[in-house]
């Protein structure tokens, strides 16, 4: 029972492995994938109240990990559902694509439960490898010819970041003589002010900074977002980031004794991420690149919650990343639907969307206003709570800079909204949307609004989850 979700994902992976051997029809694959994802979500929900240790203490099942498992499974289900028949992926490798997605999912699910450095490392690698392979699987029929380059870039930067992480882990092992997070947590306060411990901690964090795309580990973002298929980008933009936040919470709660040094570095990373992401996003023409840069800025915002080292700050970070995943999924749902052949979309390709697909236009607008942090959507509430948490810790300058960034960000989000609502369709045809996509987008819109207006429930849940690991 403790291990049921993971076993289900493994089983699903096996199922798809068998599917890759035969030659199943498109519909079979898609239906299988959606059904499997739903079952995974169901098992995750079923196991929400489980607690216990597995694998000699390397794997811990607690409320914190279980909630993240549900979130990851739910986001994956959404990605599976809205994939417009995976138009962006080479036709003959679509079953494999789902297989890799599932394996990556397995890696992430195991990551959030891992409480031992080696297990964390391997789980992270498992989830990353699958995505490294998914990036170059895009078909050249979409008019994009640098998917290999994007894949290699993703791989190289990923390897570099995990190299840093491994090096940091070796330092931590050298200092404490243990690889289990509990053991490290016991010893770190004693080592608190040793520079080696600080450096080691930061190096370990860098592996997850890479996943979350925080400056200076963000270089892969624009090219990978642009080069990968729309569905892949949707996955990269939403799902691994949630797991990264989970692990960052686990790790920064260890680093909280290390005081000023770590705090200052996190602040610098946060500010630079926000400014770099927002300023670069201002000049983008490609929608996915723009979302990529905006993702860097949002990652900076999430750091704002982590560097409070407080329960409420962590809870706001969890709330924010979930909101962020929702908004991104909504954006990518629209992108996948509008890009009928799986091609990349320029911002100008959205012109007149309000006529071509009113529901999608509404979804995109809500998602973008939410990303921009306009009330009453989830993006605003999240941002508000993060700023509030940071100001409680007296980081006035940081909060002011973050607030200024919100104002910068408005411009590029608005320019997309302007295209969808305030311009004519310029001869672009109607967008075919199925019932599934429409209802999914309406559900996302509802959740974005409801979570924004009534955040109490979720924040309380996140807080009680985080309490289990502090």
């Amino acid at each position: 029972m403790l291990f049921l979700p993971e076993l289900t994902i493994l089983g699903a992976g096996l199922l798809f492995f068998l599917l890759t051997l035969g030659q199943p029809s498109e519909a079979t694959i898609k239906n299988c994938a959606s059904a499997v994802a739903a079952v995974i979500l169901f098992t995750c929900v079923l196991c929400v109240n489980q607690t216990g240790n597995l694998f000699y203490g390397a794997y811990r099942v607690d409320l914190f990990s279980q909630i993240f498992k549900i979130l990851i499974a739910a986001a994956t289900l959404v990605v599976f559902l809205f994939g417009n028949g995976l138009k962006g992926i080479k036709q003959d490798s679509r079953p494999e694509y789902y297989l890799f997605l599932l394996v990556s999912n397995l890696g992430l699910v195991m990551l959030v439960s891992s409480v031992e450095l080696l297990a964390i490392f391997i789980a992270l690698e498992l989830s990353s490898f699958a995505v490294y392979i998914m990036v170059p699987m895009r078909t050249t029929a979409t008019g994009i010819f640098f998917q290999m380059e994007a894949g290699i870039k993703y791989l190289l930067f990923g390897v570099m970041a995990t190299g840093f992480m491994l090096f940091g882990m070796s330092y931590i092992f050298g200092l404490t003589g243990t690889t289990s997070l509990d053991g490290i947590a016991e010893q770190l306060p004693i080592l608190a002010n040793r520079p080696a411990a600080v450096v080691a901690m930061l190096m370990i964090l860098s592996g997850f900074f890479y996943k979350l795309a925080i400056f200076p580990f963000h270089f892969w973002v624009p090219d990978v977002y642009e080069g990968a298929a729309n569905e892949t980008t949707a996955f990269i933009a939403a799902v691994p980031k949630m797991a990264a936040v989970a692990l960052l919470i686990r790790l920064t709660s260890l680093a909280s004794h290390q005081g000023e040094m770590v705090l200052n570095l996190l602040m610098v990373c946060s500010i630079l991420s926000m400014f770099y992401g927002n300023l670069s996003a201002l000049v983008q023409k490609d929608l996915k690149r723009m979302l990529g840069f905006s993702g860097i800025a949002h990652a900076g915002f999430i750091l704002l919650g982590l560097l409070t080292f407080k329960l409420t700050g962590y809870a706001s970070a969890v709330y924010y990343i979930v909101g962020y995943a929702l908004m991104n999924l909504a954006c990518f749902l629209v992108i996948c639907q509008v890009a009928a052949k799986g091609e990349n979309l320029g911002i100008s390709d959205l012109s007149g969307l309000h006529k071509r697909a009113p529901i999608l236009a509404l979804t995109l607008t809500v998602a973008l206003f939410s990303l921009a942090g306009i009330p009453p959507f989830v993006g605003f509430t999240g941002k508000f709570m993060l700023l509030l948490g940071a100001l409680r810790e007296d980081h006035l300058l940081l909060v002011t800079l973050a607030a200024i960034n919100t104002a910068i960000a408005i411009y590029y989000y608005l320019s997309v909204v302007r295209m969808t609502f305030c311009s004519d369709s310029n001869g672009l045809g109607n967008v075919q949307t199925g019932f599934l996509a429409n209802s999914l987008s309406l559900i996302l819109v509802t959740v974005i609004i409801v979570m924004g207006v009534a955040p109490s429930w979720f924040v309380a849940l996140a807080e009680s989850a985080i309490k289990t690991i502090l």
Binding site: F17, L54, F55, Y56, A58, Y59, K90, D92, S93, E96, L99, F100, V103, L106, M110, S114, E116, L118, A119, I122, A123, E125, L126, F129, A130, Y132, I133, P136, M137, T140, G174, L175, T176, G177, R194, P195, A196, V199
Partner: protein, 174 residues
Amino acid sequence: MMKTLFSADGLVGLLFLFNLIVTVVGGIVACNAERLVRAVIGLVVCFVGVAGIYFFLNSPFIAMMHILIYIGAVAVAISFAIMLAAPEEKMRTGPTSPLSGPIGLISTLLLISGLVSLALKTEWTSVTKINDGSVKTIGIQLLTNHSMVFELISIVLLLAILGALVIARGGREE
């Protein structure tokens, strides 16, 4: 008290130093060689050095395995791949900024000096030898304390094989 170079400890130290030099030189060759084959040789040299470090860490079995797998299998596989694919030997592509060399050098030196001084200044807790590094203990460790990692690695390997197949197949068709 200064130990002489020719005592037992001193010789071991010398050997260790030699080992490190082999590793680093191998790594540099692997990164900078103009020809791919030479890069593979550099990699092999580097692997030998790493295996030596394992030996110094009281794990002769792992040192053996490292040589066997990485040099005997991985490096050979890479060599085969190079021979089969016969890639063009021109490695350098595109103009690079004249500043990139010096900047890279300076930042590397900064990083290295930082890490070195960090390593020297830190009082490392000397870890006592936890076990004898024999096959049996390694096996026990892999199936107890590190069983999860052990299982996960098998999935990683499976994934790597499948991924290589998928990418290679796609590459051939186009």
